[in-house]
Amino acid sequence: MSLPPLALLSDPSARIMAPHAVDFVIIVIYFAMVLAIGFYLKKYTTTGEDFFLAGREMTAWVAGLSFVSANLGTLELMGWAGSAYQYGILAAHWYWIGAIPAMVFLGIVMMPFYYISKTHSVPGYLQLRFGEPTSALSAVSFAFMTILMSGVNMFSMALVMKVMLGWNLNVSIWVSSITVGLYVTLGGLFSAIFNEVVQFFLIWFGAMLIPILGLIEAGGWSGMVARIQHNFPGQDFTHLWGPMAHFTSNPMGIHWTGIVFGLGMTISMGYWTTDFLVVQRVLSAQDLRAAKLAPIIGSFFKMAVPFIVILPGLLGLAVLPFKLVPESQLQPGMHSYNEVLPLMLARYCGPGLLGLGITALLAGFMSGMAGNVSAFSTVWTYDLYRPFLRKSAPDAHYVAMGRWCTMIGLLISIGAAYVVMQFASIMDYVQALFSFFIAPLFGTVVLGMMFKRITGVGAFGGLLAGTVSSIVMFVLVKTNPSALAVVALSSHAKALAENMYRALWSWLICVTVTLVVSFLTKPKSDQRYEGLVYGATAVPSEGNVALLHRPVFWAGVALALFLVLQWIFW
């Protein structure tokens, strides 16, 4: 769910920021701190559970912040700030309906099964529930795509640093990769999670001054709205749902059904509940209550992220003295939508604060990279290497394998980054590829959790059919643009809208095929259901505890707050 700032490549001579010595001191301290954390945690990382699941001893707060931070990549921050400049507050849907219901659903409905089954990964759950074929399909696709995405992100980071600061591409790629590789190899998930939480705070402290100072300059929210209306007469940038009654009445070219069913019910559910990169953080929780609370705590912070991402985009519409343009219209001296966040940072932040802002961007990149490699090493070691290459080995062997494949995974990512550097158009395809697997996987996992009748053959067939159909729809629209009217229900649909509907159809196909094949086949006689399926699992009750300690109470508060936000910005 990120937008690459590819356009930044177009004018590499136009540096947005000019850091001073103090800014470099701040950046060097950051690198020293993340490495120090890695070295400090090495002595605590001895077993497989330590390395791959952070010893399962994280509190709800740490797991929850890490859960959100793993997703708070810099491409997300810059891309969605750019989208806010382009589409207005509509971009906030990706933080609210595109995240909050799914996070609450993960905490309350799905987490008990992930946690009680003692699985180490999402493919690990599929192995317990459906057997090896479904697990292997999911593990191979996840490992492949994760490492490729990591390469794409690495290249994008180097590109951003080159354009913003004039840094050399190779230096950016190697320095950041070696740093991440070192601290993850040393401390495993312990180290990744600790650094993600540190990075979370740096991102907030580094970015929060932009909306604060921006609102002061614009004269508050009402002043900002007035300035936007003055700068862009006749366009509605500040309403969430109002402009979505028709495909043509909003700049995104999307109908509210696409947002509710495609984004809210399919893509976000798939991403937040089955993408192992984020789920792994919650699996590190110290007990079931912490595991249930972690995504719910994360949802409150996720709801607040538009303050540092969407609001700067809107403020850019109000206060920037020039207009930003789409990537396709960039000329020398111009800036693209995706540059709005660094432009706003440079507008308000002098020496020191600028270094903090740059550190926040670097922290976002590195937390995403660490998330990718730690998830990759777990899935490779536990879901591919152990079942298919070496079934029984001492725990220390798997820890060593995890450490090695962290570094090897990073080297493959670096290779992918250089391939992308040669063929930049690959980036768009890689990002689309990742979305192919997410929506069908959610269909497979949720059906498996809810119904005993779903068989391994049905799950495998459904996952394969959903994934293949998603790829077919993507290729169809690429080769024959008139197919857009069928796939996305409107020929006016933009790429984001097309993604919504493609996810929805692939999910429906996955669910339908899974159900039909399951009813035509018989479950295995020795199939285990306890701890894996609703109705066959005794989920411990929350007992006689105070309301304020119940995850379900906070889930209700999060959903109520989410609804209030929709009403305020309707």
């Binding site: 507008r347 308000y348 007992g543």
Partner: protein, 107 residues
């Protein structure tokens, strides 16, 4: 699952229910799914967060004071954001470092 898991579950569940949800640990019945005690006694992540916020706060606040005589060419430079933002970071960082510093006995 661990051998003896069910026994430990029952024991802790009963203990939790006996306390009626009250008591010094404030643990709930769902906590007992994995009753294994913590193995590690490492410094909490909050210490590291506090440390880096404290260091950054001092640097940024110091830069802000320097900028009183050498104002930067940024919008709203007259608000002296580095001074108060740096001070907020120092306060937040120092409180966490003090609370979680090595050697301090925690419950």
């Amino acid at each position: 699952m661990d051998p003896g898991w069910e026994g430990a579950l029952q024991e802790k569940l009963q203990s939790s229910l006996d306390r009626g949800g009250k008591g010094p640990t404030k643990r709930t019945a769902v906590d007992v799914v994995d009753p294994r005690p913590h193995k590690h006694h490492m410094l909490p992540v909050w210490f590291f967060i506090g440390l880096i916020l404290l260091i950054y706060g001092v640097i940024i606040c110091g830069t802000g004071i320097y900028e009183l005589s050498h104002p930067p060419v940024t919008v709203l430079a007259n608000l002296h954001a580095p001074i108060w933002w740096g001070a907020i970071m120092v306060a937040a960082g120092a409180s966490q470092v003090n609370k979680y510093r090595p050697g301090k006995i925690r419950p």
